[in-house]
C-alpha cells in the first residue's frame, strides 16, 4: 500500500500492456507486457539494440508508444502524465544535466519541479550529496564533474522527491567500485522501503545478486521473465549468464572467440 499522488494505491507499481514502438518500418519494441510490484527489484536484461532503453523511455513517458499503455502507480503515463511522473524517479544511460548549474542549484531546481517542500528538499539534497560523496563538489558547476560524478548527481536528482518507483538505465556504467557498491546497497534499502526498482544492466552478476526477478528482452520482445529459480524450472540451466546467452543466442560466441585466438 503506497500513496500515488491522488490517494492510496494498492495495485502494482508499474504495468505495461501491449507496448509497441515503430520507427518507420522498424519495430523496436513488439507487444511488451510486464508488471512490477511495490518493493520489487526487477532487472531488465537484453543484448545491445534489444529494445531496453526504448521500453524504459515509453514507461517514463519520454517516448509515445505506437500502441499499448504504461501505468505508474495506477496512472496512465500518456493520459495522466503529471500524476504518473510525480511518482517515479529516472536516471538515463547518459545523464545530460544542466552543465551551467551547480550541484546544489540542480537539486534545488529538481526539488521545485517535483514540488518537494523547500525545507524538506534542502534536507534531502544535503543527505544525498553526503551519501554520494558530492558535498564538496556541490558548489561547482556540473560541467566540471567527471562522468561518474554526473551519474551520481543524476541519481541524487532522481531520489530528491523520495519516489515510489525508480527507473535506472545502466546505472553502474562509469561508476567506481565504491559507488557501484553504494548503488547496490541503496537498491536494497529502497526495496525495504517499498520502492519498486526497474533497471537495465549488462552486468549479470548485479542482476543475479540484486534482483527479485529478471525480464530478458531480445529483438523487441520479452523472451523470459521470472525469478532465477523460475527460469531454471522452465528448462534453462546454469548461471544467469548461461541462461541469458542461451536465450539471446550468444552461447556460440565462445566458438567464434576460439577461432580468433
Amino acid at each position: 500500500m503506497i500513496t500515488n499522488g491522488t490517494g492510496t494505491w494498492h495495485g502494482p507499481a508499474i504495468v505495461a500492456e501491449g507496448l509497441r514502438k515503430l520507427y518507420g518500418p522498424h519495430e523496436a519494441v513488439k507487444h511488451v507486457d510486464l508488471v512490477v510490484q511495490p518493493g520489487e527489484i526487477v532487472g531488465f536484461l537484453g543484448p545491445n539494440g534489444a529494445g531496453k532503453t526504448t521500453t524504459i523511455k515509453m514507461l517514463t513517458g519520454l517516448l509515445t508508444p505506437t500502441a499499448g499503455r504504461a501505468l505508474i502507480l495506477g496512472h496512465d503515463i500518456q493520459r495522466e502524465p503529471v500524476a504518473a511522473k510525480a511518482g517515479f524517479g529516472y536516471v538515463p544511460d547518459t545523464p545530460n544535466l544542466y552543465g551551467k548549474l551547480t550541484g546544489w542549484e540542480f537539486l534545488r531546481f529538481i526539488g521545485r519541479l517535483y514540488r518537494v517542500p523547500p525545507a524538506q528538499a534542502e534536507h534531502r539534497a544535503g543527505e544525498l550529496l553526503r551519501l554520494f560523496d558530492l558535498s564538496t563538489a556541490a558548489s561547482d558547476l556540473i560541467e566540471g564533474y567527471s562522468h561518474g560524478m554526473q551519474q551520481k548527481m543524476a541519481l541524487a536528482g532522481a531520489l530528491v522527491h523520495d519516489p515510489k518507483v525508480l527507473f535506472l538505465d545502466e546505472p553502474t556504467v562509469g561508476l567506481d567500485p565504491k559507488s557501484a557498491r553504494l548503488i547496490k546497497d541503496l537498491l536494497g534499502q529502497l526495496r525495504t522501503m517499498g520502492t519498486a526498482v526497474f533497471f537495465s544492466t549488462h552486468i549479470l552478476e548485479i542482476a543475479e545478486r540484486m534482483c527479485d526477478r529478471v525480464i530478458i528482452i531480445d529483438g523487441g520482445q520479452i523472451v523470459a521473465a521470472g525469478t532465477l529459480a523460475e527460469l531454471r524450472a522452465g528448462g534453462e540451466q546454469g548461471s544467469l549468464e548461461d541462461i541469458f546467452l542461451n536465450l539471446t543466442g550468444g552461447a556460440e560466441y565462445a566458438e567464434l572467440a576460439a577461432v580468433l585466438a
Binding site: T60, G61, L62, L63, T64, Q78, P81, V82, A83, A84, K85, A86, Y90, P92, N96, L97, Y98, K100, L101, T102, W104, E105, R108, F109, I110, G111, R112, L113, Y114, R115, P118, A121, E122, G126, S135, T136, A137, A138, S139, D140, L141, E143, G144, Y145, G157
Partner: protein, 566 residues
C-alpha cells in the same frame, strides 16, 4: 606521415558527405539554394566593391592608391580567415569528439595535427572564392589589366589562406595553454557576436562620426605618404598586392619579385607556425586531458550550500525562469546569442528620443495640430521604437526557450509538470525582464518628452500588451519547431520558428498597434467618437494579441508530447 594525413582527410570528407547525404532531399535543397543565394550576394557585393574601387582609380589617376588596393583586399580577407581559422582550429584540435580515437590509434600524431589544419583550408578557399576572387577580378577588369595580373592573382589567392591557418593553429595552442578550450570557445563566440554588433553600431552612429570627419582638412600629399608607408609593410598579403599591381602595369620583374616575396614569406611563416604549433599540440592535449575544474574550499562550499535562494523556494513556473536566468549568462556563447543585441538598445533609444526620430516627429506634427488632446502622437513613434527593439531582444529568449534545454530536455519531460506550467515558466523568463526594461525606457522617455500621465499609462499598456502577445506567439512557434540537438547556440533557432515568429510579430504589431492608435486618431479627426474609439482600441488590440498568442501556443502545446522523440 603523408599516407596517414591523406587517410584522415578522406575520412573527414566521408563523414561530412554522409552527414549531408543522410538529410532529406528538402533539407539538402534548402541548404544548397541558401548557400547559393548567400554566395551570389557576397560575390555581387565584393565584385561591386572591386569594380567600384578600380573605376574610381581610373577616373582619378592622381589618387595613387593602386599600389595599396589589391594588397588591402588580400589583407582584409586574410584577417577574416584568421578569425574563422582560430575558431575552427580550436574546435578540430581540442574539442572534436574523434580525438580520443585518433590520438590512441597507431597513426603519426603529426598526421592528426596536419589533417586537422588542412581540413580547415576547404572553408578558407570557399570564403576566398566568394570574396577576394570577385573583388580582385572586377578590380582588374575596371583597370583593364592584362592576363598576367589574373594568373598571378590566382597564385596569390592559392597561398593566402596558408598563413591565417598556421597562425590560427598557433594562437589556439598558445591560448589553450592558459585557458580551458571550452571557455575559449565561449569567449570566442561572445567576441564574434560583439564584432557583428559593433559593425551594426558603427552603422547606426555613422552620422555622428561622419560629422566629425567632415571637419578634417584633407592633405592629399600626407595621405599619399601614409598610403605608401602602409603599402611598403612586409606583410605577405601586401607584398603580394604590390606584385599584382606591378603585373597589372606590365612590370614583369616587379610582379615576380612581389609574388616571389609573398610565396617565401607565406610558406616560411606557415611552416614555422605549423612546426611550433605541432610541438605545442601534444603537451597541450595532455594538459587538457588531465585538467580538472578548480574546487572550492570547504568553507566556500558550505556558504554556497547555505544560500538556498529563490530557486529552492519558487513555484514551478518561476523556478523554470530562475533556472534559465542562471544558465544563460554562464554560457557566454549562449548569452551573446540571446541577449547580445542589448548593446544596440541605447543607440536606438537615444536616436528615438533626440536623434534620428526628430525628423519623424516633425512630419507627424506637420500633418496637423495633434497635441491638443491627452495623447501625444509623437509618443506613438517612441512606443513603437521601444516595443520593437525590446521585443526583438527578448524574442531570442522565447523562440529558443525549448531548444535551449538541448540534451537536458529529458529532465523537463520526465518531470511532473504540465504543458501550461512549462509555457508559463518559459514565458516569464522573457516577459519579466521585458516589462522591467520597457517600463524603465518608457518612464525615461515620458520624463524627457513630457508626456501626460494618461499618455504614459496608455503607452505602457500598449507596449506590455503587444509585447506579451509577440513573446507568447514566438514561444508557441519555438515549442512547435524546437532544435534540441545543437552544439553551437546559433543552431538553436529553426528556420520555421524564426519565419513564423517574424510574421506573428508583424501581425500583432501592425494590427494590434493599429487598434491602439484609434483613440489618438479620434481625438483629432472625430472627437465625438473618442469614447467608442477608446473601447474599440483596447478591446481590438487585446483580441488580436490574445488570438495570435492562443493560436501559436495551442500549436506548440499540441506538439509538446512529441518533442525529443526523433
Amino acid at each position: 606521415m603523408i599516407r596517414d594525413t591523406w587517410l584522415l582527410l578522406t575520412l573527414r570528407w566521408q563523414v561530412g558527405w554522409n552527414g549531408f547525404r543522410n538529410h532529406s532531399i528538402g533539407y539538402r535543397l534548402i541548404v544548397a539554394l541558401g548557400g547559393l543565394a548567400i554566395a551570389v550576394l557576397t560575390i555581387g557585393f565584393c565584385g561591386g566593391i572591386g569594380y567600384g574601387a578600380g573605376a574610381l582609380l581610373q577616373r582619378y589617376p592622381n589618387v595613387q592608391l593602386d599600389s595599396l588596393l589589391p594588397g588591402a583586399i588580400l589583407t582584409a580577407v586574410a584577417g577574416l580567415l584568421l578569425l574563422t581559422s582560430f575558431g575552427s582550429a580550436l574546435g578540430s584540435l581540442f574539442l572534436s569528439s574523434d580525438l580520443d580515437l585518433l590520438m590512441t590509434a597507431p597513426v603519426d600524431r603529426r598526421a592528426v595535427f596536419i589533417s586537422k589544419v588542412l581540413d580547415g583550408l576547404g572553408v578558407s578557399y570557399a570564403i576566398l572564392a566568394v570574396t577576394a576572387v570577385p573583388a580582385l577580378t572586377t578590380y582588374g577588369l575596371a583597370l583593364h589589366y592584362g592576363p598576367l595580373y589574373y594568373i598571378l592573382a590566382l597564385l596569390a589567392l592559392a597561398g593566402t589562406p596558408l598563413l591565417p591557418e598556421g597562425l590560427g593553429a598557433l594562437l589556439v595552442m598558445l591560448v589553450a595553454r592558459f585557458a580551458p578550450a571550452r571557455r575559449v570557445r565561449e569567449v570566442l563566440g561572445l567576441f564574434g557576436a560583439l564584432v557583428g554588433l559593433s559593425c551594426s553600431l558603427l552603422g547606426q552612429t555613422s552620422r555622428l562620426w561622419m560629422r566629425d570627419l567632415a571637419g578634417l582638412s584633407t592633405d592629399l600629399q600626407a595621405l599619399q605618404r601614409q598610403v605608401e608607408a602602409v603599402a611598403g609593410l612586409p606583410i605577405p598579403s601586401l607584398v603580394a598586392g604590390r606584385g599584382l599591381t606591378a603585373a597589372g602595369r606590365g612590370d614583369l620583374a616587379g610582379a615576380v619579385a612581389g609574388l616571389g616575396g609573398f610565396a617565401l614569406l607565406t610558406f616560411g611563416f606557415f611552416a614555422l607556425c605549423v612546426w611550433l604549433a605541432d610541438s605545442l599540440y601534444a603537451s597541450g592535449w595532455v594538459r587538457m586531458q588531465s585538467s580538472g575544474t578548480a574546487r572550492r574550499s570547504p568553507q566556500r562550499a558550505a556558504r554556497a550550500a547555505a544560500r538556498g535562494g529563490w530557486l529552492g523556494r519558487a513555484p514551478v513556473d518561476l523556478a523554470l525562469a530562475l533556472k534559465d536566468w542562471r544558465v544563460i549568462p554562464r554560457d557566454l556563447r549562449n548569452f551573446a546569442q540571446v541577449l547580445g543585441s542589448l548593446v544596440l538598445l541605447p543607440v536606438i533609444y537615444f536616436n528615438l528620443l533626440g536623434g534620428g526620430g526628430r525628423s519623424s516627429f516633425n512630419a507627424v506634427r506637420a500633418a496637423g495640430d495633434w497635441t491638443h488632446g491627452q495623447l501625444d502622437p509623437t509618443g506613438i513613434i517612441i512606443a513603437i521604437g521601444i516595443l520593437s527593439s525590446a521585443s526583438f531582444l527578448f524574442l531570442n529568449l522565447t523562440a529558443t526557450a525549448i531548444s535551449m534545454e538541448g540534451k537536458s530536455w529529458w529532465l523537463i519531460k520526465a518531470a511532473p509538470i504540465s504543458g501550461l506550467e512549462l509555457v508559463r515558466g518559459k514565458f516569464l523568463a522573457a516577459w519579466i525582464p521585458f516589462v522591467i526594461l520597457t517600463t524603465g525606457l518608457l518612464i525615461g522617455a515620458a520624463i524627457w518628452k513630457g508626456f501626460s500621465p494618461l499618455g504614459l499609462l496608455y503607452g505602457w499598456f500598449g507596449i506590455e500588451l503587444l509585447g506579451a502577445g509577440i513573446l507568447a506567439t514566438s514561444l508557441g512557434f519555438g515549442l512547435r519547431w524546437p532544435q534540441l540537438t545543437w552544439s553551437n547556440p546559433r543552431q538553436m533557432r529553426s528556420g520555421w520558428a524564426a519565419f513564423c515568429s517574424f510574421l506573428a510579430e508583424a501581425f500583432v504589431g501592425v494590427l494590434g498597434g493599429g487598434f491602439l492608435c484609434l483613440p489618438v486618431l479620434a481625438q483629432v479627426v472625430l472627437p465625438g467618437l473618442l469614447l467608442p474609439a477608446w473601447i474599440a482600441g483596447i478591446l481590438g488590440a487585446t483580441a488580436v494579441t490574445a488570438g495570435a498568442a492562443w493560436a501559436a501556443l495551442a500549436l506548440g502545446l499540441a506538439h509538446l508530447p512529441h518533442i525529443g522523440e526523433a
